[in-house]
C-alpha cells in the first residue's frame, strides 16, 4: 500500500534523524533562510524602484531573466563553483525567490495613487516617511502576495537540497526513487504539499494582521448613502 510509509508511526518519531519531524524542520529551515535572504535583497530594491520610478525597466528584465533560469541548472552551477552544502542550495533558492518578491514590491509601491503620494509629500513627510508610512502599508497586500508566491516556489523547490547532499523532504523523493520505494516518494510528496499549503495559510493570516482594513476592503462597508454628513440636518449651515 502506497500510504504505508506515511502512516507508519515510526517515521513520525521526533528523535529519528530520518523521521518526518526532523525532515520538515530541515525543509522549513532551507525555505525560511532563502526567503529571508531574498526578501532582504529584493524588498529594498523593489521599494526604491517603486518609489523613485527609476530603474524599473532593468528590474523587470532582470526579474524575468531570473524567472527563466532553471533552478536545477543554477544549483548545478553553484555546486560546481562552491561544492556541496548549504551555500549552493540557498543560492539557487534565493535566485528563485527574488523575482516574485522584487516584481510585486515594485508593482505594489507603484500602484499607490499619485494623489496619495502627493498629499503625503505636501503635508511634510520626508521621502523615507512617504515610503514607509504610506507606500508600504498601502502596497502591503500585493507585497505579501509576492511573498506567498515566492514561498510556494521555494518550499517545493527546496527538495533539491537532498540532491546536494542535504536533508529536507527531498530526501524521501530522491531516496525513494533511488531504491524504488514508491510509498516513500508518495509520503514525501504529500507532506510537502501539506507543508506548502500550511505556509501559505500562515502568510494569509499574517496578511490579515498586517494589512489595514482600509486597504484590503474590510473597511469598505457601512458607506453612507447620502453625501450629507449624518447628524447635520438638511439645509443647515
Amino acid at each position: 500500500m502506497t500510504l504505508d510509509y506515511l502512516l507508519d508511526a515510526a517515521n513520525w518519531s521526533l528523535t529519528s534523524p530520518d523521521g518526518f519531524p526532523q525532515r520538515i524542520l530541515e525543509h522549513l529551515g532551507y525555505t525560511f533562510l532563502a526567503l529571508v535572504i531574498a526578501a532582504v535583497i529584493a524588498f529594498p530594491i523593489g521599494l526604491l524602484i517603486g518609489h523613485t520610478g527609476r530603474g524599473a525597466l532593468v528590474a523587470i528584465n532582470l526579474g524575468n531573466a531570473g524567472r527563466a533560469l532553471p533552478t536545477l541548472g543554477v544549483l548545478m552551477l553553484a555546486l560546481a563553483l562552491v561544492g556541496i552544502g548549504l551555500v549552493p542550495v540557498t543560492f539557487a533558492l534565493v535566485v528563485l525567490a527574488i523575482p516574485p518578491i522584487l516584481a510585486t514590491t515594485y508593482a505594489g509601491i507603484q500602484s499607490v495613487a499619485d494623489e496619495t503620494v502627493d498629499a503625503a509629500r505636501g503635508v511634510g513627510m520626508t521621502e523615507a516617511q512617504i515610503a514607509w508610512r504610506v507606500e508600504v502599508p498601502i502596497a502591503m497586500p500585493i507585497i505579501i502576495g509576492g511573498l506567498r508566491n515566492a514561498s510556494l516556489q521555494v518550499v517545493s523547490t527546496a527538495t533539491i537540497a537532498a540532491y546536494a547532499g542535504l536533508g529536507g523532504l527531498g530526501r524521501y523523493l530522491f531516496d525513494g526513487l533511488a531504491t524504488l520505494q514508491y510509498d516513500k516518494v508518495v509520503a514525501g510528496a504529500i507532506v510537502l504539499a501539506v507543508l506548502a499549503v500550511a505556509i501559505d495559510l500562515a502568510l494569509a493570516g499574517a496578511q490579515r494582521l498586517l494589512v489595514s482594513p482600509g486597504v484590503d476592503g474590510r473597511g469598505a462597508g457601512n458607506r453612507p448613502t447620502t453625501a450629507r454628513p449624518a447628524g447635520r440636518p438638511a439645509g443647515a449651515g
Partner: protein
C-alpha cells in the same frame, strides 16, 4: 503675506508654466488663482510649499524665503488640501487628521484627541473618526482633507482645486463651510480653481491667469465683475457680470421711501404689528414676493424689485415689520452712481501712472 518676486518656472523641455510672476497674497484673506487648465495657476500654488521649485525668482512667506528651510519642515507649517482629498486609505479618519501633529512630535494620543475636535469643526460627526476613507462620501472625504490641513494650525492654507471632484450640491455646502471656517480662523488661504463662480464666491481677491502663464488681472471679485481688465477676463467672467457684481454691494445704501408710499396705484398692506401682507390695488391683494433685511446685498434687493408687482422691494426690521421701500428708480440711481464711482476709481491710477 506671501510674495512672489519675479517667479518663473521653465521645464527642461522648454515649456514655461509660470513666467515672471510677481504677486502679493494678503495675510488672513482668501486669494483665489483662477484660469483655464494649463495656465500655470497650480504650478504657482505648488511653488509656495516647494512641491515645485521655481527656475528663477523668490517666494517669501512673511519675509522669509521658502527655500531657507528644509522642504518637509516648511510643508508641515503650511496646510495642503488637494482635489479628491488625497486621504491615506490605510489610516482611519482620525489618524489622517492627526498626521501633521504626529510628524511634528505630538503624541498620537494627544493628536487624536484634538483631531476629534477638528472633525466637528469641519462639520463631521466625531464617530466618523474610526472609519476608513473608503467608507466616506466624496464630500466627507474633502472635509477630512480640510481638517487634516488645519490640524497643526498652520497660518497658511493651500487648496488645489479642493471642491472640483464633488457634485454641485456638495460643492455648494463645502464652499459655505469654508467661508464659515475662514470667518472663525482667519487663515491666509490660497485656493486654485478653474471655476470663476467659485473664485468670485470665495475670494477676497482673485488672480486671473491667462494662457501662457500671464497674470491678466488681480483684483477683488467685485472689481473683476465691474471692470474686467481685458477681453480674456471679461470672457472668463462670463455673462450677467453686472447683475452678479451687485452681490458685492451693500443693499442698505439705497435710499428708502416710507412704507405708506403709494407706488403706481399700489400700497403696502400690513398687519397689526406692521408685518407686510401684500400690495393692495385694483386687482386685489398681490404678494410681495419676499422682503429683505439688514445685511442684504444689492443683488437680493434688485431681485425683489424685479419680482414685486409694485416694482418696489420691502425692507423689514429684525422683528419682520416693514420699515421702508426701495423703488426701482432709486435702485437704478444707486446702481448707476456706484458703477460710475467704481470705474472712475479704477481709471484714475492708470492715468496718474
Amino acid at each position: 503675506m506671501i510674495e512672489f518676486e519675479g517667479v518663473t518656472k521653465r521645464y527642461p523641455d522648454g515649456t514655461v508654466a509660470v513666467e515672471d510672476l510677481s504677486l502679493k497674497v494678503e495675510t488672513g484673506q482668501i486669494t483665489v488663482f483662477v484660469g483655464p487648465s494649463g495656465c500655470g495657476k497650480t504650478t504657482a500654488l505648488r511653488m509656495i510649499n516647494r512641491m515645485i521649485e521655481p527656475t528663477s525668482g523668490r517666494i517669501l512667506i512673511d519675509g522669509d524665503d521658502v527655500t531657507s528651510r528644509p522642504e518637509a519642515l516648511l510643508r508641515r507649517d503650511i496646510g495642503y488640501v488637494i482635489q479628491a482629498a488625497g486621504l491615506f486609505p490605510h489610516r482611519t479618519v482620525l489618524d489622517n487628521v492627526a498626521t501633521v501633529p504626529v510628524l511634528q512630535g505630538v503624541s498620537r494620543r494627544e493628536a487624536r484627541a484634538s483631531a476629534r475636535g477638528l472633525l466637528e469643526r469641519v462639520g463631521l460627526p466625531a464617530n466618523l473618526g474610526e472609519r476608513y476613507p473608503a467608507q466616506l462620501s466624496g464630500g466627507q472625504q474633502q472635509r477630512v482633507g480640510v481638517a487634516r490641513a488645519l490640524a497643526a494650525d498652520p497660518p497658511v492654507l493651500l487648496m488645489d482645486e479642493p471642491f472640483s471632484a464633488v457634485d454641485p450640491v456638495v460643492r455648494d455646502d463645502l464652499q459655505q463651510e469654508l467661508l464659515r471656517l475662514q470667518g472663525e480662523l482667519g487663515k491666509t488661504i490660497v485656493l486654485v480653481t478653474h471655476d470663476i463662480d467659485e473664485a468670485i464666491r470665495l475670494g477676497d481677491k482673485v488672480a486671473v491667469f491667462a494662457n501662457g502663464a500671464r497674470l491678466a488681472q488681480y483684483a477683488p471679485p467685485a472689481d473683476l465683475l465691474a471692470a474686467p481688465a481685458d477681453d480674456f477676463v471679461s470672457s472668463l467672467v462670463g455673462r450677467d457680470r453686472g447683475f452678479r457684481g451687485l452681490s458685492f454691494t451693500d443693499g442698505s445704501q439705497v435710499a428708502l421711501k416710507p412704507v405708506d408710499h403709494t407706488v403706481d396705484g399700489l400700497t403696502l398692506e400690513v398687519d397689526r404689528d406692521g408685518r407686510p401682507l401684500g400690495w393692495r390695488g385694483p386687482d386685489g391683494l398681490l404678494p410681495t414676493e419676499g422682503t429683505f433685511g439688514d445685511g442684504a446685498n444689492l443683488r437680493t434687493v434688485t431681485d425683489l424689485v424685479i419680482l414685486s408687482p409694485a416694482g418696489a422691494a420691502v425692507r423689514v426690521d429684525a422683528e419682520g415689520r416693514a420699515d421702508g421701500l426701495v423703488l426701482l428708480e432709486d435702485l437704478a440711481g444707486s446702481v448707476r452712481s456706484q458703477q460710475r464711482e467704481r470705474l472712475a476709481a479704477l481709471a484714475t491710477p492708470e492715468e496718474a501712472g
